[in-house]
């Protein structure tokens, strides 16, 4: 079952990073990164977008939920730069607030993914043996699970459970849910599905690093397993993880759009780009402006993240250095 591009996050081509001398690493990275103009422009765009999202209440001309029943689905004008939606709400304001939700969701989801995927991948690769086998069996099983189905079930479960259970824990979760516009389910579901890819990448990297000299040396001077994993190995596998994040964010934004199409997105009237697109698609022939602006915003943002990911990868990957 596809959300074709959404779900098929193929194993990211493994990046072999030799251990760079630490002091110059960052400067070198930045210099190489800046040489890639598309990536640089993308990075600037993303920074601006994040600023817009943070400053949404200041920038947006209207509150996102402000309806104007006298001006329903009017086209772009000087009063409403991008027109209004089916309840007479300003599209530009909704787009700005929508950036907030979409970026917030993808960042949190990435955070969850890293939080789960990296330690599991580390442990699996570092210890090997039956630990590795056990973890890999679990990963294989979850890989074979249709992720859209998994997400829908988890979201419905959470949605239903939150509105019915009581108690301090449920109340805390409900609080998170409210502050994310009802997207807690999306966050949990995405985290549960996408950590697989990250953990696989990390495991592969660790397997390659485990027998390297500096690890053996550290072990010889009495470093504990935890120190080895987090102080010596982790810094050396950050690069592929960073690339995975850059490529993972578009995945999450797209998936949120797909879920909105199924009616499982944000809690109205909170806007998200995915929601705006899925509503716009249904009414495109009557009101094309409802699809065009969020569609373009999403496409440009995804483009930027993709170029950013490429840029990071090229800047980190020595084998691509002479491009």
């Amino acid at each position: 079952m596809t959300m074709t591009t959404l779900q098929a996050s193929p194993p990211i081509v493994s990046v072999q990073v030799q251990r760079p001398p630490k002091t110059h690493a960052l400067r070198k990275f930045l210099r190489r990164f800046a040489r890639n103009r598309a990536a640089l422009v993308s990075a600037i765009f993303i920074v601006l977008l994040v600023l817009v999202a943070i400053l949404a209440p200041v920038i947006a001309p209207y509150p996102y939920e402000k309806t104007n029943f006298a001006a329903i689905t009017v086209g772009p004008s000087s009063e409403f730069l991008l027109g209004t939606d089916e309840l007479g709400r300003d599209m530009l304001s909704r787009l700005i607030y929508g950036a907030r939700v979409s970026l917030f969701v993808s960042l949190i989801a990435q955070f969850v993914i890293i939080l789960v995927g990296v330690p599991i991948g580390l442990i699996s690769g570092f210890y090997g043996g039956w630990v590795d086998i056990a973890i890999q069996r679990v990963v294989d099983t979850l890989y074979a699970f249709p992720s859209l189905l998994f997400i829908i079930i988890i979201m419905t479960y959470i949605q239903g459970a939150l509105s019915d259970t009581e108690g301090p824990f449920a109340a805390a979760l409900a609080g998170i849910n409210d502050s994310t516009g009802g997207l807690l389910g999306v966050l949990i579901a995405l985290g549960l599905v996408f950590w697989l890819t990250v953990s696989r990448i990390v495991r592969g990297e660790v397997l390659a690093l485990r027998e390297k000299e500096f690890i053996t040396a550290a072990r010889a001077i009495g470093a504990t397993d935890l120190q080895l994993m987090f102080r010596h190995i982790l810094p050396n596998i950050l690069a592929p993880v960073l690339v995975a994040i850059a490529f993972g964010i578009p995945n999450v934004i797209m998936l949120e759009a797909g879920l909105s199409y199924l009616g499982l997105g944000t809690r109205p009237p909170v806007p998200s780009w995915g929601l705006m697109i899925s509503e716009g698609v249904k009414t495109f022939r009557s009101f094309p402006h409802l699809l065009i602006s969020p569609g373009l915003a999403l496409a440009i943002t995804l483009l930027a993240f993709n170029y950013l990911g490429d840029g990071i990868r090229q800047a980190l990957d020595p084998s691509l250095r002479n491009e």
Partner: protein, 309 residues
């Protein structure tokens, strides 16, 4: 080699069991019942007698073992709740082949297009052609399939009148054009990206430079040395995409009215049609595992250094 394949196949059994178990308990824990989908709320006593009729009044654990035993002893996945008189097996047999055909054609389109775009771009990295192909593939990745499908209908069916707005007439009918494009665009873009970076990487390798130095023509180098290397990562990416494409897409199938299996992944969950949820999940899992095995075997064919014991 044979023992390796056998071991992989045997390993699928516990995985399937685990997937079945997770799905079963997850779907029963999800609020909502399969009945009462017709708009008017059903009286409670009717819901109770329906539960009784379909054995949903028993404890969940008991239902689990009944269901499991049905699969093991008779290969029976039960009957759909929302499709009167149809067994889940019938339903899969009827709708999966349609998604499979569409998916295979879409994949051919994706691999052909993706390889071409990727090669064109990768051979001349950072040239204007490269920028153009990269831009195209990023657009392909960043457009949701339902936007592609909707715009496809509007442009090809309603404006140009080239094809009908939807439906299914077999894979060789004109109706298959829009779904193939909508399904294939994403994988094509992904394949193009991976091909490009594999080609760039391979071109910088020692042996390719040696071949150049020996005076082998550019095209000769590309065909003999660069392409096979690029193929390995393309096989991996295509394998992953293939599974998701042949199991159909909810969006493409709903918008283009294709009677494939893809929309059942979603509608069965919305309708709480438990047997169909299980059936589609197991189908998907089987395909993923078989495909993984095929990919691993393909590696050995492409790279003689890889051997499985």
């Amino acid at each position: 080699m044979r023992t390796y394949i056998l071991r992989r196949v045997l390993l699928m059994i516990p995985t399937m069991l685990a997937i079945f178990t997770i799905t079963f308990f997850l779907m029963h824990a999800t609020p909502g019942s399969p009945w009462d989908s017709t708009g008017r709320p059903l009286p409670l006593h009717v819901i109770e007698s329906l539960n009784e009729k379909y054995g949903l009044d028993k404890p969940v654990l008991e239902q689990y073992f009944i269901f499991l035993w049905g699969i093991i002893s008779r290969g029976d996945l039960g009957d759909s709740y929302t499709r009167a008189g149809q067994s889940v097996t019938d339903l899969l047999m009827q709708h999966f082949p349609i998604s499979l055909q569409l998916g295979l054609v879409a994949m051919v389109f994706a691999v052909a297009g993706g390889l071409t775009l990727g090669l064109i771009g990768g051979i001349q990295p950072n040239s204007p052609v490269d920028y153009l192909t990269t831009f195209l593939s990023v657009i392909g990745i960043s457009t949701p399939s339902y936007v592609v499908a909707t715009l496809g209908v509007i442009v090809f069916a309603l404006w140009l009148n080239w094809v009908p707005t939807g439906g299914w007439d077999g894979i060789f009918s004109e109706r298959a054009v829009i779904p193939v494009i909508a399904l294939g665009l994403g994988p094509m873009a992904t394949i193009a990206r991976y091909t490009r970076s594999a080609v760039v990487e391979a071109s910088s390798q020692e042996y390719v430079r040696t071949a150049h130095a020996k005076g082998v023509s550019r095209r000769g180098v590309n065909l003999r040395h660069v392409l096979p290397n690029a193929l390995i990562s393309v096989v991996t990416v295509s394998g992953v995409s293939l599974v998701s494409v042949v199991t159909g897409s909810f969006f493409v199938e709903s918008i283009l009215n294709i009677p494939g299996i893809g929309r059942y992944f979603v509608t069965s969950v919305s309708a709480r049609d438990y047997p169909v949820i299980i059936g589609t999940t197991l189908l998907y899992a089987t395909l993923v595992m078989v495909m993984n095995l095929v990919i691993d075997l393909a590696y050995t064919a492409l790279d003689p250094r890889i051997r499985y014991e």
